[in-house]
Symmetry: C2
Subunit: 158 residues, 2 copies
């Protein structure tokens, strides 16, 4: 057995997103705007299964969420208010309360990275298309191994 | 009352550090190295009160931690294994288990930012010097307002 480290496990180890689960996105947005002096972002209502094909733990899911994004340097901070239906977001809120749910990484080939992580015992927890269908996100079940969910973000068309 | 947003609340809204509390830093480091293909960092044992003058919720604290740092683009990922003594780290582990504890921001003047945040109802939870005495960190009690602890990082001498 070799202990050598591959450099190609994820294509890019730059953290590009931090996702925080909140109970009330309007209240949390207001607090972030005040504390960080940032402009108020738009709240985006994620579409349902028919458009973004959300799968949660292997099955189709009607779960949606309200989202808001702040640019904080290289990192995009995402606030997520789950809608109460079963999802990784609602799971986290029920188990931990509000807090940082995931770290996001850009990938060019989700399938390859998912296959690599499966070999490390880390499966897919939830997957879906972006609301504008320009890409897809994949939440990996990495909290037990890494203390945090890894999100793979793939933009279609490069 | 004005709703205008100040741009000087924190001097820099660039997230420069993500801190994850773990139970076993050797096990977590190994998992991060494997998943991200990163070289194994050194484990740093934080010194005690006599050197770094840790204060926790207003009083001196002998709490220490084992630390390890990974560079992941602009963001430094910090793993923290608390030592069981009362600290913000141990608080988090006891209440939430492993997970993302804080987002770190560089500041030039900790006192000014602490004063601003006090006006927002956010107090200091823990403070101390860096192990090499080159700066100081301050954990703000911001989890109720923001869903995450904000850490102020000040390097002495600019």
């Amino acid at each position: 057995m070799s202990n050598s480290i591959k450099n190609t496990n994820l294509e890019d180890t730059t953290i590009c997103q931090v996702g925080i689960i909140v109970r009330d996105i309007e209240r949390s947005m207001e607090a972030f705007c005040r504390v960080f002096g940032l402009p108020r972002p738009e709240v985006i209502e994620m579409p349902g299964y028919e458009r973004v094909k959300t799968t949660y733990r292997g099955g189709p899911s009607e779960a949606t969420a309200k989202l808001a994004f702040f640019d904080m340097g290289q990192v995009q901070l995402e606030l997520i208010e789950p809608d109460g239906k079963p999802s990784v977001w609602q799971e986290f809120l029920d188990e931990h309360g509000e807090g940082v749910h995931h770290l996001g990484f850009q990938v060019a080939d989700t399938g390859r990275v998912v296959e690599f992580l499966a070999g490390e015992g880390i499966g897919v927890a939830q997957q879906g298309l972006y609301g504008d269908l320009s890409g897809q996100y994949t939440y990996m079940d990495s909290a037990a191994a890494l203390g945090v969910v890894v999100e793979l973000l793939e933009s279609f068309g490069g």
